[in-house]
Structures are given as structure tokens and as C-alpha cells.
Amino acid sequence: MKLNSPMEVWKYLPGTNCKECGEKTCLAFASLLLERKKKLEECPPLFEPKYAEKGKKLAELLAPEVREVEIGIGERARKIGGEDVMHRHERTFFNRTALAFDVWDTMKEEELRERVRRITDWKKFYVGEFLKVDAIAVRSVSGDANTFARCVKRVAEETDFPLVLCSFDARVIEEGLKEVSDRNPLIYAADKENWKEFLGIAKRYKVPVALFSPDLDMLNSLAVTFSSAGIEDIVLDPGTYPEGQGLEQTFSRFIKIRRAGIVEGNKGIAYPLIAVPMTAWMVHGTENALEASYWEAIIADLFIIKYADIMILHSIEPHSLIPERTLVANIYTDPRRPVSVEPGLREIGNPTEKSPLFVTTNFALTYYTVESDIASNKIDSYLMVVDSEGIGVESAVAGGQLNAESFKDALESFNVADKVKHKTMVIPGLAARLSGETEDVTGWTVLVGPRDSGRIPGWMEKNWPPETVS
């Protein structure tokens, strides 16, 4: 994207403040365009003849440096690529790395369906939402087109996830594609041998296509050739070597390609990148599954950070899946996003005046963790969110943002005494050292809760209700 401020965007808008986009002013619309929260199409006047020139220019200037490619359809469709910066603090990374997990066409039907369901249904609560994974990669192990097609069909019946169809044999891909041609799958992969057939298929079926070559001259050539033939929904695989200097060079290839695209504006190679951490399994083998899953996660870690827009993984065990997906959430969080929630008194479930009063900070991560721990265990209660300037409990106690006075201020400004009659509050275990002073300052009874809110249910059994309440 060539524009950096709302004013720069505004210059290309009609400037009539017509409100058709739903915003009060063109400038407000401009800033949302910059944030990718609005689309140009939402400004109808821009498509009238008198503004068409400006509109066209604006579309060019707003286009991300790395092409954005969509895989799948409907609610589960995933955009990949579309990045503008080399480092997240320079603005943000926009489209998180899509995690695709593999199935293969030699699996027994029941085993296959079960694996697809597990991948599709997997979820993990994190900062106010459930994390899910993104796609399923179907591998042709048999090499037989019909076997592959049958497998693809079964996978498609079982999930609405975007699919990646994987084979270097164009005939196999085409047979599989026929089963899901309306699902916009990514086909993997064209290489220096088979590219003409893949090009033909990508053109006829209008699906995104992956190009494979660890030789970057060849990869660039393939990309330019496809794009010259009118195919722009391209994903590049520079090869993922799982070990040694091969891994070092893989790391450098990903960075070089992204640098060429973003820093040097080389449109010929500015496409989303695909990494295949599951190559770790080829080294460690299924007989060393734990080791293999660790190395797969290590490679995933590298390329979640350095520029893979989609990756293919094999282990669906929670020990690797949880940290991999969490890292994606961390790296792709907008660093400009506020880290705090509104202080206040929240009701969890249906609390009464005898329900416990828990206290936490307004650091988003802490708040959502505590809130979900209480809610999912169905503990009817009040949660008092104290303003700690968006800092977590341990640091806020050390840094003085959380102290006896802040508890007092919160009790008063949220009129807590109107709702809770027992005048007892449960403070975080990590704030234990504030308990005495807080009792003195507020006149409330202070109970020290567990150090981790996940242990609130166990704590409740032993400590609630206390004598002060009953």
C-alpha cells in the first residue's frame, strides 16, 4: 500500500461527505479504508464517471504490496497474503497464517472422516474468543486419480473448511478438483515439470494455484509465466527443508521473497507464501512422533513469524496444535489494538447479593481469562474490573498501578455495595500482598484467591461461602 495517512487517501475521494458509505465524512471513510475496515465499493460516487479516474488510481494505491488470495468459500473462506510490512510494529500483519492440516487418500474411510472432524471441530479459548484452525490439505499418496477424487469427496462432505489439493500429477489434481470445483480450493503444486498442465487447470477451473521451486529463479519464472497468462491467484512454495543448513537457507528464501515484494516492489514475486513444516516428519518419522511433532512446531514457529501465509502441518495432537495456533494469534494481533477492557462491575451468570465478588485488572488478556474461567464453570458471581492502566496483576502490583486505593476507587465508582451485601471480595492470588492494606482502606473483608483463575472452582469448594457471608 502506497498511502500512509487518511489525508492522503482523502485526496482521491469525492470529498462531498455524502454519507452513502455510512460514515459522517469522507475523511472518516478514508481512515477506515486505510485500516481495511471498509472497501472502495462502499463509496458508490467513486464509480461515477467524474470520479472514475481517481477511483482507479486509489484502488491501485491501496492495493497491498503482497497479493491477497482467497481460499475456500463462504464463512470459512480464508484470505491469505495481503501484507504491507516486514515487521508487525510498522503497522500490523493483516491476514494471519492459515494453518492447514493434512489427510491422505490411503486412509480408511472412517479414519479419514474422524480426522477431518477433529480438525474442523478443534477449538481453544483465547482472549475472548475461540481459536480454530483454517484448512485441510488432502494429499495424494496413492497416485491414483480416482482414489484421490473419492478421498476429496469424502473430506468435502465432512467439512466446510477450505481445501488444499496436493499432488504433482495434474491428472490426479484435476480428478480431485472436479469433486470440489465450486469450493475454490488451492491446488498444490505446479513445478518446473508440470506447470503447463497446472496452468491449464487453474485457468479452466479458476482456482488458486501453488507454485513450487526451491530455486528462486525458477520460482520467479513460474510466477511471471502464470501471471502473464492471466493467473493471479498464486501461492509460492520456496521449499521447506526441515534441518541443518537446508533450514537456514529456507529461512533466508522466505525473507528474500518477502523483501523483494514489499521493500523492492517486485510484483513478479509478491505473492503469498506456503511453508510445509510437516517435512519434519520425513526426517524423524512416525516412530518418533513426539520428536517429529516438536520439530514440526519449531519449523512452524519460524515461518509463522517470517512470512508464511499458509502452512501445512501433520500433527493434530493438542500439545503442538495449541502453541502453534496461539503463536499465530500473538504474531498477527494488531499491535495498535488497545490492550485493556473497560473497568466496571460485570455480572457473570445470574448473581445474587450473596454471590462472590471476584476482582481482576483491566488488562485484556487477564480479564478474558478470568471471565471465561468463571463463566465456563457456571459460577454465578460479580467480577470487578479494576483500572490497572491495562497492566496484568503481577506487574501492576509491582509497578503500583494496582493498590489498595484502586480497589477502593473501584468499589465506590461502580457502587458495588448496592449489589453485594456481604462486603467480602476475592482478590487475585498474585495480589496477595495487598490484602491487609486493602482491608484497612476499604473496610471490606479480603479473601485471597488462587494464583491462577483456572483454579477458582477448586478454591470455591474450600473457601466459599466464608463465615462473613452466611
Binding site: H89, E175, G200, I257
Partner: protein
């Protein structure tokens, strides 16, 4: 007959005249078939069959049998990939022969050159330098982002310092099982870190000195340091309890006890008498760890205070704070990455090697908790598998941001971070199996 004809041309001719079968064909003379790289000709199956019949029907004289047989084999494999199963299938639509040539291009990208360079810091002193260490470690010296060897070869790979404590502490089960036998004895603990877990360095945390824990006197803590120095010959990191009132006294005594060993004294921060710690480190020949909490400006401020106290640049390592995966790692990552980029751009206040307390990863509940407290979560699997990976991924992530030194705890995690950072560093001794793997075969891997 001098005219040469390519396979594509034969195909075209056959297609033009809608020839699907050739009967009684006899070809005399040499057949010269030019096969484009990758057999880039897609033939309608019917034509393919026709061509096959030409080959098989061709009269072959004995002298050229072998050559032609090879050609025929090659041709067949192109005509009927997948063992010919698809060729006979009529329902596969014909792929039109594409009139395309590969547009050959060169991929080029410029190197990024930075003005700044990270300070090179050596920890540990051998006999010739007035200490008793058998080896020293040197970190820093970078002129590019971590592992960007194509810009500028990273001068030193990151190092691992494995933690030990001056008293038994509560640890996640997955970690505890490795240390249960040595928890009562810091010397034995340190030995185990080096002997069994391959630590480059050992960190002794003098946590029992905290008035809220055991309030061990500084004098006694100094003895523990002497014990550990006796027990192992690797460079040492000496950590206090984190109590801002007690640490200056404790670290002063420890620095004196470790005179001349060039330990890393951990740490000076803005909420305490950092001056006393920095002076003790200088007086007794140590390196100082400058620790701030996720705040670039605070880090610059503290470093400048240290400069003012006369601490030489080669005696400073910084710790910008580590947060666990899922619990603020994004802030820690970006904080370190920004510091490193500022340093490379020329901000000398921040141009120091970075130490990361990766053991903090165990603060993530996912690293140790048995089951998810969230009922709707998918199964978390065994905690004992999750924990080490949380530590590995926290470490590696901060290594990519700019970490030069990792304080770690789980042996498997320490080993994995060591190995992968060695690979990325481009170490020659790293096993190089990766190159032998035909990576594209992941598609058919079983």
C-alpha cells in the same frame, strides 16, 4: 528425408485431421523425437494411444534396438503417467496443448546494510584472564537481524544458560522430574545442567535471600556462589531474588565472591539501587545485566545511567523482559525486535546483546495445567508434552526477534532451542540431513 518433426507437431497434425487410430503404419529411417523439458505436451488420450501404436509397430533393426526401446519407454511414461490407468479412461477431458513458453527471469534482491552494530560481550574469564573458567562465551556483534546471514553472517550463535536455584522451589511436574535429585544442592544442580543438559552457562538464582522467603544473609548467598563456581567450569550468571531492597546487598557480596570470573550479574533495574550493583560488578570484574519491563524508553534510560557510572559498553547485556507464549509474547517479541532494529539503525543506547528469561514460559497455564479450565475447549492432551514446547516456542520466537542468550529450564527445551539456533546460525557441525530429504515428496509421504 531431412525434415525433423517434434512430438508436439505430430500431435498437432494428428489432431488437425482428427486421426484417432493409425493402421498399418510403417516408419522407415530414423525417428527423431524432440521431447520438450517436462514433456510439456499434453496429448488427447486417443492421440496418445495412436502414437503408442506407432512406436510399438515401428520396425526395429537389431542395431538400434536398445536406443529406441529407451526412447519408447520415456515416451510411454510421458504419455501415460500414473501407470497408464488414466489413458484408457474416456471421461477425462482433453487438455488443449498450451502454446506457452516459460518466461525465464532472474530473482534478485538487495542486501540490507545497517549502520549500527551490536556490542560484542564476553562472559566468563579463563586463567589467562584472571578467572578459573575453562571456556568463555561471546555474544552480540551482529550487523544484521538474527540469522539474516545473507545480509551479514551472524558472528556468534545464541547461548543457553540453564537455571539452578539456591533452594528447592516449586516447579511444573515436567520440569521437576529432571531436578528432583539435585534440588537441595546448588553445586550438584549446576553440574547436572552442564554434564547432562549441555548448558553453555549456568544461572544461579539466589532466591532464598528474599526477606519474604528465607531472608538468607548476603554472606551465605556468596558462599553458594563460590560452591557453584567450584562445581562447574562454564561461565556463570548470578541472579538475585528480585527483591529491590535486598538485591543490591546480595549481588554485591556475590560479585566480590566471584572476583575476576567475569560473571553476568543479574540484574540492575530502575526500581532499585542499581548504582551499587553496577559498581560492585565493575570493581570485581563482571558484566552487568540491565533489566527493564517491556519499555524501550526505560531501557534507554537505564543504559544511559550505567554509561554515566562509567560502565564500559562491553560490560553490558540487556534484558527487555520475556513474556510467555500466549501471555504477552507479542509485546515481548515486538519490544525486542524494535530495540534490535533501532540499534542496527544506529541507536547506540540499545546496541547490546539481549538476554531472555525463557523459563517464564512456564507461567502460561497451558504449559503445566492438567486440563483446560474452559469446558468448551477441545482436549488439551498431556501437560508433560505441552510444557517443553511452550518453552521452546517462547525461546525461538524471541531468538528471531533478537535474543542472544536464553535462560532456560527444561532440558529438552534447552536442547531443542540450542539445536535450531545452531542450524539457523549456519553451524557447520549441525547435522545436515535436511538436504538429503526430497522435500517435495512430503505429498506422498507415508
Amino acid at each position: 528425408m531431412e525434415k525433423k518433426i517434434t512430438l508436439a507437431e505430430i500431435a498437432k497434425i494428428l489432431e488437425k485431421y482428427e486421426i484417432v487410430e493409425l493402421e498399418d503404419v510403417k516408419i522407415k529411417g530414423d525417428i527423431e523425437l524432440e521431447l520438450a523439458e517436462g514433456g510439456g505436451v499434453a496429448l488427447p488420450p486417443s492421440i496418445a494411444q495412436a502414437l503408442q501404436s506407432i512406436i510399438s509397430a515401428a520396425h526395429i533393426s537389431s542395431s538400434t534396438t536398445e536406443a529406441i526401446a529407451t526412447t519408447a519407454q520415456a515416451l510411454q511414461s510421458i504419455l501415460s503417467p500414473g501407470a497408464g490407468a488414466g489413458v484408457q479412461k474416456a471421461q477425462i477431458p482433453a487438455t488443449p496443448a498450451e502454446e506457452l513458453e516459460l518466461i525465464r527471469t532472474k530473482f534478485e534482491v538487495a542486501k540490507t546494510e545497517w549502520n549500527g552494530q551490536i556490542e560484542e560481550v564476553t562472559i566468563g574469564a579463563t586463567r589467562s584472564d584472571g578467572g578459573t573458567r575453562e571456556a568463555t562465551v561471546t555474544i552480540g556483534g551482529e550487523k544484521a537481524l538474527p540469522f539474516y546471514n545473507f545480509d551479514y553472517q551472524m558472528p556468534h550463535p545464541p547461548v543457553i544458560s540453564v537455571d539452578c536455584f539456591d533452594m528447592p522451589i516449586s516447579l511444573a511436574k515436567a520440569v521437576r522430574e529432571h531436578y528432583e535429585d539435585v534440588m537441595e544442592d546448588p553445586g550438584e544442580w549446576a553440574k547436572k545442567n552442564v554434564r547432562e543438559f549441555g548448558a553453555d552457562m549456568v544461572t544461579i538464582h539466589l532466591i532464598s535471600t528474599d526477606p519474604g522467603i528465607k531472608d538468607t544473609p548476603a554472606r551465605e548467598a556468596a558462599k553458594t556462589v563460590e560452591e557453584v563456581l567450584q562445581a562447574v567450569k562454564v561461565p556463570l550468571v548470578i541472579g538475585g531474588s528480585g527483591n529491590p531492597d535486598k538485591d543490591p546487598e546480595v549481588l554485591e557480596a556475590a560479585a566480590e565472591a566471584a572476583e575476576g570470573e567475569r560473571c553476568l550479574i543479574a540484574s540492575a533495574n530502575l526500581n532499585m539501587d542499581y548504582e551499587r550493583i553496577a559498581k560492585a560488578a565493575q570493581e570485581h570484574g563482571h558484566v552487568i545485566l540491565s533489566w527493564t519491563q517491556l519499555d524501550i524508553n526505560a531501557q534507554k534510560t537505564l543504559n544511559r545511567y550505567l554509561f554515566k557510572l562509567g560502565v564500559p559498553r562491553e560490560d553490558i547485556v540487556i534484558d527487555p523482559t520475556t513474556a510467555a507464549l500466549g501471555y504477552g509474547l507479542d509485546y515481548a517479541f515486538t519490544n525486542i525486535e524494535r530495540m534490535r532494529i533501532s540499534a542496527l539503525k544506529g541507536d547506540t543506547d540499545l546496541a547490546f546483546p539481549i538476554s531472555c528469561g525463557i523459563t517464564n514460559a512456564w507461567g502460561a497455564r497451558e504449559a503445566w495445567m492438567k486440563d483446560s479450565p474452559i469446558k468448551e475447549d477441545s482436549d488439551w492432551g498431556p501437560a508433560v508434552y505441552r510444557g517443553p514446547l511452550y518453552e521452546i516456542m517462547t525461546g525461538l520466537t524471541l531468538g528471531i526477534a533478537g535474543g542472544d542468550m536464553f535462560m532456560m529450564m527444561h532440558p529438552k527445551a534447552a536442547g531443542a532451542v540450542k539445536r535450531v539456533t545452531q542450524m539457523l546460525f549456519g553451524a557447520k557441525e549441525a547435522e545436515d540431513e535436511g538436504k538429503k530429504v526430497k522435500i517435495e515428496e512430503w505429498v506422498t509421504w507415508k
